[in-house]
């Protein structure tokens, strides 16, 4: 059978292709997706902590920043912004406060995930301090004022007059317990 060595090399090549596609799906597609979203701002994800740089405040523009707070699925907390909207000038640093209250009888851990709309504003909305950089532990019945300090970049596209920052609060108590027990 002269065909046999050919069959073997084809088998190896095609298996290699299958393995490569598997690796592509797990190790390339997710980072590629994140990169794509970061470049285009489509996912509405904001960057991490921002170190303020000295810029001139652009007093000629007024930007309305709206805040939305949502609980994910079964999250039982009270969670809302104290001010629902503020007016800022680009380049100006502004602090706002969200209120969170754990109404349950259990100690819980929450994690707020931010999202910015419109998509082309995501890269120009900087947070110098944010409760969302860490998770938020609240003991049973405890409440907290969660602080956010942000700067709207003066390079914000001229077409954008309103920026909406939305937080979704996830219950990560179980996940944290699992991680703690794994360490122990």
């Amino acid at each position: 059978m002269s065909a046999r060595p050919n069959n073997r090399s084809l088998l190896v090549k095609l298996t290699g292709l299958a393995v490569a596609m598997f690796m592509f799906a797990i190790f390339v597609l997710p980072p590629l997706y994140d990169l794509f979203c970061e470049i285009t701002g489509i996912g509405g994800k904001t960057d991490g902590a921002y170190t303020a740089v000295a810029v001139e405040v652009d007093r000629s523009r007024d930007i309305e920043v709206q805040f939305v707070a949502t609980n994910n699925a079964t999250m039982p907390w009270d969670f809302y912004p104290i001010e629902e909207r503020v007016m800022v000038h680009p380049g100006e640093s502004r602090a706002v406060v969200f209120y969170a209250h754990n109404r349950t009888g259990q100690d819980m851990l929450g994690q707020a995930i931010p999202n910015v709309l419109p998509n082309n504003a995501a890269d120009y909305f900087h947070k110098t301090e944010c409760f969302c950089f860490n998770n938020q532990p609240l003991a049973a019945g405890e409440s907290a004022e969660l602080e956010l300090v942000f700067i709207v970049d003066p390079d914000l596209p001229a077409s954008v007059n309103t920026v909406t920052l939305s937080y979704t609060m996830f219950d990560i108590t179980d996940r944290a317990v699992a991680q703690v027990s794994q360490v122990q």
Partner: protein
């Protein structure tokens, strides 16, 4: 010295060993075909439960939780258990005989790729009897429904998908190796029969995208059990990523299902038109073009996730572009029939119905590809009607046609033509009664995957259910006709079986001997 296979006369032990350890392409083809028919009956039974519940508004027979399991299992079993193995079975039977090869290139892997399949579906089906029930998140298993909110049995589902993926990949590698290395001397690529061409292209699609599906379920597995956050927003992941990865697999998958069906029809229509296939090379290029385009249109399944307008426009136009090579194929089939000496045996009836109904399904696909309109159609019964027109009237009709067409060659006996025609008309009418009204329901706003519906949808749902029972009955008749043929059919020894048949498989004796083309034929 050629030796025959063990038969029942040699005792049960030998007979069972023959099937378990077989490396014969015809035996493995038969196993695939019977397995897929069993899965077709099971998936069909799930569909009957769904349609029985939807016969009237309100909850009558089953609980909504079980209804969700039925819709999910119906989709999974039909796609991965019935249609795909059916065409792999046809490939096993026909490709070596069509290209003049003695067997498949990798016969032992062929055995393995079949025999892991029953285990995959045993695992998947067993979840229905476990605590928490089977998969209930739809056959598309979108995260986080299939991760955070899934029943515990989801791990069995993931394992099952891994096994069936491995099976498909091995089957595809085998087909590619067979076609590339084992063609008879003189059989150039552009002389290969259409069914072989469509299968080679399908096999490349499978090798490319089944691992992506395996990757998707692996990421689910890690999110569920190992604390990663690929698809979990709470940990910085993104559920929309799941949809992208799923449809990067899922869209080529629909062509994996339909391309071999195109191949089958490209054999049957010339046979019963007594003319060669019109535009052979354009058929080959059209198939390749469809396969290529299938990789770059996936997001048309997810127009509603919130895509930028540029993305919607791109995916809309790219999707519409697929209509061009598909149109080439449809016009070639019609031109093949034009001025031919047509006769209407059962395989031809199914093939003509395929061309007509697949084109209907293609047109509703064009409607769905319009991003602006899809916002209204998304996840309604219009989508359900669309993909059943292409999956059932496409793939299943063509599979049925293939069985009727090649069954006399396989077993040397003729099926009952009258019974075949009766089955065709019940299936054709039943199919249209089932799915035509679902277009109206979808346009009127009835969402898919719900166990109940508003009163305004009652009449058409009842009509649809009646059609579904008719269509289900036609399959029982099909099973009966096949068993009757194998057991008591009228024997035939005509190598050609059909007057207009062309191709190497028809130069072999009827029934096809256990070993064929031990010495390769010469192709002029």
């Amino acid at each position: 010295m050629a030796h025959g296979p063990a038969t029942l006369a040699d005792g049960w032990g030998k007979y069972i060993s023959r099937w378990v350890f077989t490396t014969n392409h015809k035996d493995i083809g038969t196993l695939y075909l019977w397995f897929s028919f069993a899965m077709f009956i099971m998936g069909g039974a799930f569909a009957m439960i769904i349609r029985a519940e939807l016969f009237q508004p309100g909850m009558q027979l089953i609980k909504p939780e079980f209804f969700n399991q039925m819709t999910t299992m119906h989709g999974l079993v039909m796609v991965f258990g019935a249609i795909m193995p059916a065409f792999v079975g046809l490939a096993n039977w026909m490709i070596p005989m069509m290209i003049g090869a003695p067997d498949m290139a990798l016969p032992r892997m062929n055995n393995l790729s079949f025999w892991i399949l029953p285990f995959a579906f045993a695992i998947l089906t067993a979840t229905l009897f476990m605590e928490g029930g089977g998969p209930n998140f739809g056959w598309t298993f979108y995260a986080p429904l299939s991760t955070t909110y899934a029943p515990d049995t989801v791990n069995y589902f993931i394992f099952g998908v891994h096994i069936m993926g491995a099976s498909s990949i091995m089957g595809s590698i085998n087909i590619i190796a067979t076609v590339m290395n084992m063609r008879a001397p003189g059989m150039t690529y552009m002389k290969m029969p259409m069914f072989v061409w469509t299968w080679v292209i399908t096999a490349f699609l499978l090798v490319a995208v089944m691992p992506v599906l395996a990757g998707a379920v692996t990421m689910m597995l890690m999110d569920i059990n190992f604390g990663t956050s690929f698809f979990d927003a709470a940990g910085g992941g993104d559920p929309v990523l799941f949809q992208h990865i799923f449809w990067f697999f899922g869209h080529p998958e629909v062509y994996i299902i339909i391309l071999p069906a195109f191949g089958v029809v490209s054999h049957i229509i010339p046979t019963f038109s007594r003319k060669p296939l019109f535009g052979y090379s354009s058929m080959v290029y059209a198939t390749a073009a469809i396969a290529f385009l299938s990789f770059v249109v996936w997001a048309h399944h997810m127009f509603t996730v919130g895509m930028p307008i540029a993305g919607e426009l791109y995916f809309m136009y790219a999707t519409m572009l697929i209509a061009v090579p598909t149109g080439v194929k449809v016009f070639n089939w019609i031109t093949t029939m034009y001025r031919g000496s047509l006769t209407y045996e059962t395989p031809m009836l199914f093939s003509i119905a395929f061309v007509i109904l697949f084109t209907f399904g293609g047109f509703t696909g064009m409607m769905l590809s319009i991003a602006a309109a899809d916002m209204q159609y998304h996840d309604t019964y219009f989508v359900v009607a669309h993909f059943h027109y292409v999956m059932v009237a496409g793939a299943v009709f063509s599979g049925t046609a293939a069985v009727y067409y090649w069954l006399p060659k396989w077993c040397g006996k003729m099926y009952d033509e009258t019974m075949g025609k009766v089955q065709f008309w019940i299936a054709f009418i039943g199919f249209n009664i089932t799915f035509m009204p679902q277009h109206f329901l979808g346009l009127a706003g009835m969402p898919r995957r719900y166990a109940d519906y508003g009163l305004q949808f009652a009449d058409w749902n009842m009509v649809s259910s009646i059609g579904a029972f008719m269509y289900g009955g036609a399959q029982i008749l099909f099973l009966f006709n096949v068993i009757r043929t194998i057991g008591w059919g009228k024997p035939t020894n005509d190598p050609k079986v059909w007057e207009g048949a062309q191709g190497l498989e028809w130069t072999l004796p009827t029934p096809a001997p256990y070993h064929t083309f031990a010495t390769p034929p010469k192709i002029k």
